[in-house]
């Protein structure tokens, strides 16, 4: 038994080494053999990282009941968990692991494939037209050799260049394809500010075949099926294994590839003849931080123009923050007006709104608006984010307004009314300026927390600053640099916006405002 195991491991390591050589030109793919004998079973009580909602996830739950299963939202998170010792092993696809190992040394495969799965394109239930078109498209590229060429280039030789694909003739509309951008090469990745990979080429070719423009939407893997079911996307172009369970919800095309799932782990954990639960390679990371900041900077920012991703993400974050604040500030005014109205129904409605919004996590509201409220409406996810954060902000600021308004004594209103101002004028000239001065300090705090809260919009296919760093991480598998960089950028956004608000505050504070000198009269 042991003997057989050892042979298996030798073979798998050999295969791994071969694949690394084939895709990387043979740099650090030394293919060192492990001295100990390690089998899949050795991990059955350990911590195993999987991609949330994947077949790996299901498999691990079923076959490693003793293990601690850690579900990660994205591939880079999962791989980082293994790399830093948060998990003892991970499960991933045979075709993608070589790329991971190329970028980050120190991983090795464990044992033989766990299982094998057919991968197909997911299509909305009942959308037979699209499904049949894809099937005949697949048949055609298999017949004319394009498919074999793609497999050779992407999966065998590791040539990650996107070929030129003939533009779709005519304008037949567009097709919306959901993908996890950070799934990883050779299937899907962001490089030089565009999507590349086997799946991307296939989808583009399919678009050209249909004569339709392809629009990509970026989703976490676990959200893809929900997006398809609610009609946010027309098809799923990420690696979707065919399972009976999923078939209840969506339809599949014919399978276009077959993937083996492997358990992988850090070489140093398994090298000593048994699996060591690692405490991560903190010392190692620390060393890299000190010595390799320049290297990190190059790989995370400069290479493949990744700074453009950051700039784009930064812009999206600023746009969402700005418009959500604007919307929330105005809508908060409406809510406050209803809350203070004499009409009991208005008051009740406003109170209910405020308590619901304050009592529900904004992430849940975000998902609710995206997947439920606008289920069958084609709406820009950035807009959804603006609406969700704006609504949340409105609930908080409306109560702020109310306390601000109520803190101004009624006498001033009466004085204004008595000298002939209309109620609206009194509000505009007397109540509002004082309310603003009173609530600005609290408002600033709420605003900052809104900016930071926007970091969750990645859930609904928006590429903001956080998501940009995720995408970079998915290519470089470097935890430290992108996260620190994003933290610094968020701080800078908040700081500069605060600076701006501080100026306003100084400007409107009556005590700090300059009075004209008497000689000017």
């Amino acid at each position: 038994m042991n003997q057989i195991m050892r042979i298996r491991i030798v073979i798998s390591v050999f295969l791994l080494a071969m694949s690394l050589v084939s895709c990387s030109g043979g740099d650090h793919a030394s293919g060192s053999r492990s001295k100990g004998s390690v089998a899949v079973e050795d991990f059955s009580t350990k911590r195993i990282a999987v991609l949330l909602g994947s077949t790996h996830d299901q498999y691990a739950r079923k076959h490693f009941p003793q293990a601690t299963i850690q579900e990660y939202k994205s591939v880079p998170d999962m791989i980082l968990a293994v790399k830093t010792g948060k998990a003892d092993a991970g499960i991933y696809n045979s075709n993608q692991l070589p790329e991971v190992m190329h970028e980050q040394s120190g991983f090795m495969l464990v044992g033989k494939p766990l299982f094998s799965a057919d991968i197909a394109v997911g299509i909305g239930k009942g959308n037979d037209g699209l499904r049949l078109s894809f099937n005949s498209f697949l048949e055609e590229i298999r017949r004319n050799g394009v498919y074999d060429d793609m497999v050779t280039r992407w999966l065998k030789t590791g040539d990650y260049r996107m070929p030129a694909i003939p533009e779709a003739p005519g304008d037949q509309g567009s097709i919306i394809v959901g993908m996890s951008y950070n799934m990883g090469l050779p299937f899907t990745a962001f490089s030089d500010n565009r999507l590349i990979g086997f799946n991307v080429e296939m989808v583009e070719r399919f678009g050209a075949y249909l004569g339709k423009r392809v629009v990509y939407e970026d989703y976490e893997f676990g959200n893809l099926i929900a997006a398809l079911v609610t009609g946010k996307i027309d098809m799923i172009g990420s690696l979707l294994a065919i399972t009976e369970e999923r078939k209840m919800k969506i339809d599949y095309s014919d399978p276009y590839i077959n993937e083996d799932a492997y358990l992988f782990s850090l070489r140093k954990h398994v090298a000593q003849g048994g699996v060591q639960s690692g405490s991560g390679d903190a010392g190692d990371t620390f060393g890299t931080v000190i010595s390799g900041i320049e290297q990190s900077f190059r790989s995370n920012i400069v290479e493949e123009d990744r700074w453009k991703l950051i700039v784009g993400g930064l812009w999206v974050t600023v746009v969402i923050s700005f418009f959500a604040t604007l919307l929330g500030t105005l809508f908060g005014g409406v809510i406050c007006f209803l809350r203070m109205s004499k009409n009991r129904m208005f008051r009740g409605a406003a109170r209910a709104y405020i308590s619901i919004m304050r009592g529900t996590p904004v992430l849940v509201v975000l998902m609710l608006i995206f997947y439920v409220v606008f289920a069958s409406v084609n709406i820009d996810p950035v807009m959804v984010a603006v609406i969700a954060f704006g609504m949340n902000f409105a609930a908080y600021v409306s109560e702020m307004y109310r306390s601000g308004i109520e803190s101004i004594d009624r006498g001033q209103t009466e004085a204004g009314i008595a000298m002939g101002f209309s109620r609206f004028d009194v509000f505009r000239y007397i109540i509002l300026p004082q309310t603003v001065v009173r609530i600005l300090p609290v408002y600033k705090g709420e605003f900052i927390s809104l900016v930071k809260m926007t970091s969750i919009v990645g859930y609904i296919a928006v590429q903001d600053l956080t998501k940009a760093s995720d995408i970079i991480r998915s290519r470089t598998f470097d935890a430290f640099f992108p996260i620190i960089m994003v933290a610094v950028l968020y701080y800078l956004i908040s700081w500069s916006l605060l600076f701006f608000l501080d100026r306003i505050e100084k400007k409107i504070d009556p005590k700090k405002r300059k009075q004209p000198s008497i000689s000017t009269f």
Partner: protein
């Protein structure tokens, strides 16, 4: 100018104004006096519709302001109000308080409004404070700014709602002299006040309000010196007395002294008389403390203006000794001081209470 007929106002089931009819002519200065809670302020607030009347009619220069078509805001611009609590706009400087409404409502240019505002500030003596925030002013200064703010709108009618009630005694006169000055300028003014002297010499007419109606009205002299009706008489009398209930031997002497002093200064009692009165109160109370059965004790100070006579009435439970007839150690010096400043005293005993009346010597 203002014609009010059968005005009534209810707050829920509470009948504050029952039936008020009065006519106020151009340039009249009308003081409204009366006990607390008889709807004087409500009456004033009904005239500019800060409180909506429950019934009756109000006509200003012939315009029915309760008619739904009437533009009440336009009428209010000509009929401004000064409040008990000043109600300055706290986010604006003193001068800006004066210029806001003329610029926004009368369409004056900012320069014009500032020039006019500064003039008005000079009129009330606060030109040098033009750049201050309301928070930085004393109560009397705030009220003067509020009056200037009123004038900035060039009103024909000014309603004063207890303009000095929220002020410290030391600041009352600065505000009253500003109002006196305005009264001479032909503005129509309605003043709700508790300052009887002021009402007497500033007004052309005095309304005494009680029980939700105008109970009695007339020229100041008629109301203050020879009121015709029972309640008016009682009220006017009460204005010239000060009542204090002392429930036990451990009372707050300082507060009592301050109240009596306030009363004296309001009625312009001479300094020497004032000191003697305070001395008398203190000594009488000192003598009473000797017998615990003298509490609760009711003290009333009366001042007769015509005769300049101060009188102290001291009512105690039945069966108490007359403190002025105490003898022995504890009575000694105190008694001698008291008899020294007293004109005469009377002591009556009855089944309900004992009454000791002390008349102070004239100074």
């Amino acid at each position: 100018m203002i014609k009010i007929e059968h005005l009534s106002k209810n707050f829920g089931t509470l009948n504050v104004l029952r039936d008020i009819s009065v006519e106020i002519g151009e340039g009249e200065v009308v003081s409204i006096i009366g006990p607390s809670g008889t709807g004087k302020s409500t009456f004033l607030r009904c005239i500019n519709l800060l409180d909506q009347p429950s019934g009756g009619s109000i006509r200003i220069r012939g315009v029915d302001i309760l008619a739904p078509r009437t533009d009440i805001a336009k009428i209010r611009q000509k009929m401004n109000m000064v409040f008990q609590s000043f109600n300055l706009f706290s986010h604006l400087s003193v001068l800006e308080n004066l210029t806001l409404a003329p610029v926004k409502l009368l369409g004056k240019s900012p320069e014009e409004a500032r020039t006019k505002g500064l003039q008005l500030l000079k009129l009330v003596g606060l030109a040098e404070k033009y750049a201050f925030c309301p928070d930085e002013l004393s109560g009397g200064q705030k009220q003067r700014v509020a009056i200037a703010r009123c004038l900035a709108m060039e009103p024909e009618i000014i309603l004063f709602d207890e303009p000095t009630s929220a002020l410290d005694p030391t600041m009352i006169s600065e505000v009253l002299s500003v109002i006196r000055r305005l009264a001479r300028q032909g503005l129509t003014m309605l003043i709700v006040t508790h300052e009887m002297d002021f009402a007497r010499d500033v007004s052309s007419r005095v309304l005494y309000m009680d029980e939700g109606v105008i109970y009695e009205q007339g020229r100041p002299r008629e109301i203050f010196d020879s009121p015709k009706r029972e309640k008016t008489r009682a009220f006017i009398r009460k204005q010239q007395s000060s009542f204090h209930h002392i429930s036990s031997a451990v009372f707050d002497l300082y507060a009592l002294n301050a109240e009596i002093e306030g009363f004296c200064s309001r009625l312009a009692v001479g300094l020497k008389s004032r000191q003697n009165l305070l001395l008398l109160v203190e000594e009488v109370l000192q003598l009473s403390i000797g017998s615990p059965s003298s509490f609760p004790l009711d003290l009333t100070v009366n001042y007769e203006e015509k005769t300049d006579m101060l009188e102290l009435l001291c009512e105690t439970p039945p069966g108490t000794m007359n403190p002025l007839q105490l003898e022995g150690e504890q009575a000694g010096i105190g008694l001698r001081i008291v008899t020294n400043i007293l004109e005469k005293h009377e002591f009556q005993q009855s089944a309900e209470k004992n009454r000791l009346v002390l008349y102070l010597k004239k100074q």
